[in-house]
Symmetry: C2
Subunit: 319 residues, 2 copies
């Protein structure tokens, strides 16, 4: 298995998971946002190899992939900076769409038979159907981040059709858990540590999202890769429930023993392109026999406890 974004939150957990299953794993990461510490366990395993690769450099990606000859490529690397996409509009194109092409083409040239991709529930834009199934009406994109994910989905589908590689398109909700370093729980923890009396909240606090625990996410990926053998396998990955920003902040405050006054920036959306409601229909995933183990509240609590126990991750941003 070849994993891109291997030193990231999901990637490093996935490498550990795959090694535990006995797989041989090559991890690729540019270490722009990835953390070497997250791979400390994997690096002790003889079946793991780590490559520092800038995925925009096609020749490098191609060379590493050609030598490792993966059966399966799991492409997770991306610009995760959803909110600030409009400040640097070319970034999602370059780090999303073009990089995905590079990894996909390298996978094809190396003879990989399966290509899995972490897409996002944000490709549904602002859907009219909740929970949103994989086959909902043709959506309209609201962010450059999601537009790049959609572009990647299309290329993978065309590759599967044209070259006979199996494509796995996994539309994730936001993932929580150990090694989480980006998103609202991270931001709130930082803010409360900084000032436990008062907290700024983007939007009206009623934006509602679904979150999946990292362990449940990994078991879903593993499940789909092993049980689904269609030419193109498209799956929503999420829980049966959702939570709004205020409710999530309640859990965070309780764990951190703080009661900050909440100052709302107002409006339905946290930022331009934010989806005010994300809730995916995961019946298709569950029909494969997969079940989630953790509730969203448990996931938020585990995440905040991990962040507090590993506060070097938080301090990176505070300084």
């Amino acid at each position: 298995m070849l994993v891109t974004g291997a030193a990231g939150f999901i990637g490093s957990n996935l490498c550990d998971f795959l090694l535990d299953q006995g797989c041989e794993v090559a991890g690729l990461d540019s270490f722009v946002t990835g953390q070497r510490e997250f791979l400390s366990k994997a690096l002790k395993n003889a079946k793991f190899q780590l490559h520092e690769v800038e995925l925009a450099d096609f020749e490098h990606v191609k060379a590493v992939t050609a030598v490792f000859k993966p059966d399966t490529v799991i492409h997770l690397a991306a610009n995760a900076d959803v909110r600030f996409g409009l400040q640097h509009p070319r970034k999602d194109l370059e780090q999303g769409t073009v990089v995905t092409f590079n990894v996909l083409e390298a996978a094809r040239l190396a003879g990989a038979t399966k290509f899995a991709f972490s897409s996002t529930g944000s490709v549904y834009g602002e859907p009219e159907i909740f929970p949103t199934p994989e086959t909902c009406p043709f959506p309209v994109q609201t962010s450059l981040y999601a537009a790049a994910k959609l572009a990647a989905e299309g290329m993978i589908q065309a590759y599967a059709e044209g070259y006979g590689m199996k494509g796995y398109i996994l539309r994730f909700v936001s993932i929580l858990g150990e090694r989480y370093t980006h998103g609202h729980v991270y931001d709130f923890a930082n803010k409360i540590l900084d000032n436990p009396k008062e907290i700024d909240v983007l939007g009206d606090g009623k934006q509602t999202k679904a979150y999946l625990y990292i362990g449940d996410c990994l078991s879903a990926i593993w499940h789909i890769l092993n049980k689904c053998e269609d030419k193109i396998n498209i799956y929503n990955l999420g829980p049966d429930e959702h939570i709004n920003v205020d409710q999530s902040l309640d859990v965070i405050c309780k764990v951190m023993d703080a009661t900050p006054k909440r100052n709302y920036s107002g409006g339905k959306r946290g930022w331009i392109g934010d989806s005010p409601f994300i809730f995916l229909d995961c019946k298709k995933l569950k029909s494969t026999g997969w079940k989630s183990q953790k509730t969203i509240r448990e996931s938020v609590e585990l995440t905040i406890r991990w962040l507090l126990a590993n506060d070097w991750v938080l301090k990176r941003r505070q300084t």
Copy 2:
């Protein structure tokens, strides 16, 4: 108005049309496939300016657009080589997705308020609903050409959402008429001129598509740009009818006074990624008051007559 792909089939006709409406028009073309002859009329008009620009060169596109300051950009330029996408997989990414980003970003920086894009009915892949409406279930891509069009659609939508520019996404069926230089009518005309006794036909001859006459296409573009003012305007552009390959060949043979024996390569699809049935639901377009003037058979006949009268276009390929 700024038009990319200005020396192409649709682009050159569009430039003439816009000039006839009294617009000031800047045409951009790389002249890789565009024909200078197609702009001979436009070039006599003082309101027309032509720029030879390689759209992959962002700085050049940006500079030309910044000086002209278009209110509306109509982006038609693309790799039209749908069938051979799998032989050069990076081409659609570079000439479709990346080039669209360049034009879109140049348009934004120059303060354009409207951005129109020639997408394709192929973004519906192999739909299950016919005629296929704009809101059909989330499609799966079958060609790199369509994947690049889908990627472009997503970026335009995100720009419209994020920067307040109005987006016009026009999903075309195949277009026929004067200056047509690419597609089945062109190929069949060439083959019959070469050998009127026998002709190779890709697929089983039953692939069924919708075609729109160039004049109807131009009036639809004009109609939508002037009547539709939503943030994002997505429209199918096509006729109410469809025709299969054999029926289209009947028209061509009749005009050319030939009765070649037909040798079918067989199979439902002409090539990998070909859609065996394209028929778009154009109720939304018609609800704006637009009507088509020509039938498909009339369009095929006009196309073949134009090709025979302008056989330098055919001879380009024969030699």
